[in-house]
Symmetry: none
Subunit: 87 residues, 2 copies
Amino acid sequence: MIVYGLSVIEFRDNAYVWVQVRDVLKTRIIEGTYRPGQVVPSESTLVQEFGVARNTIRKAVKALREEGLITTVPHLGSFVSENLPNG
Amino acid sequence: MIVYGLSVIEFRDNAYVWVQVRDVLKTRIIEGTYRPGQVVPSESTLVQEFGVARNTIRKAVKALREEGLITTVPHLGSFVSENLPNG
DNA sequence: ACCCATTTGTGCGTATGTATA
DNA sequence: TTATACATACGCACAAATGGG
């Protein structure tokens, strides 16, 4: 279970936290909450929002990066890819 | 057997992985690949290089530390001792 | 030129869980 | 039961680059 914002989200207890975070972020990208070209919330923001460790956020973000969903620019942030991969 | 870099190193299958890693690192220190006062590759670097878990790297590094071959400074890294012990 | 907050990158310390022998 | 070895997940600290003022 992960608490963030003002809501409480129930997660599958059997899934790894970083996988759950990754899936939430992926859904936000696919559904357009985070739009192509726009910046993804910073690590510290996501840490506060999801209430998990920064390493865990970084692992989720890394996975999105390797899937081609986002591009990370050091010291600037991560941005949603303009051309989202199929899938 | 541990693969790292471009080479493939055959290890004794009967020896523990952390002992094998420790011995490789020790050899590098004794032979001067890692020189006194200089920093030893980070845990994550060694994880990638040896292809083993971080815990295993840490166990090998801890052994070197207890042998006086290196000194570890939290958040900075491990450094080869200036005065290497005999043996 | 300077400060300063933000952000990612990196590093070690620690605890826990799972599987295996 | 114990030790090994994998991965996950928390914390904490510092560096380096960016951008605003």
